[in-house]
Symmetry: C2
């Protein structure tokens, strides 16, 4: 499955396009966010992506999970959002 | 349908309990967030609530939408997250 990493600087329209493209190709995709700014951009992109995909007949839903990431020994709790068909 | 408003100061465990309680009672609930801090608390609560509900046999998914709110003439775009059975 594709993994799209979103930062607080990511452009929502670009991320939304990448999410929609991955779902069209593979039916699902995972979004990785670290921190409130990153999550905020990701959620805006997910609202947009859901609209794009609805126009193509895809009805997607979102499932968030905590993920522990290891950055050179520094443990960070991130939020991963799984995009799946309903 | 219940509407739960989450602020950046909301305690995630309390919000998660409220979400799980509403879903058990009504099958669904809506979460209103305004800004990145509020959304961050809501998403952490939604991860926790999904775990609580899974233990009770509820498999819930999340659908985010933009909502325009009017605060005394000042228009604010918020993110509403709909919690539904899969």
């Amino acid at each position: 499955m594709d993994l799209i990493k979103v930062s607080s600087q990511s452009r929502t329209a670009s991320v939304a396009g990448a999410i929609a493209g991955s779902v069209r190709a593979n039916g699902r995709v995972e979004i990785q966010t670290i921190g409130a700014g990153s999550l905020n951009q990701a959620m805006k992109a997910l609202v947009l992506a859901r609209g794009y995909l609805k126009d193509d007949g895809f009805d997607v839903v979102y499932i968030p999970e905590f993920v522990d990431l290891d950055f050179d020994g520094r443990l960070v709790t991130a939020i991963k959002i799984i995009v799946e068909p309903r």
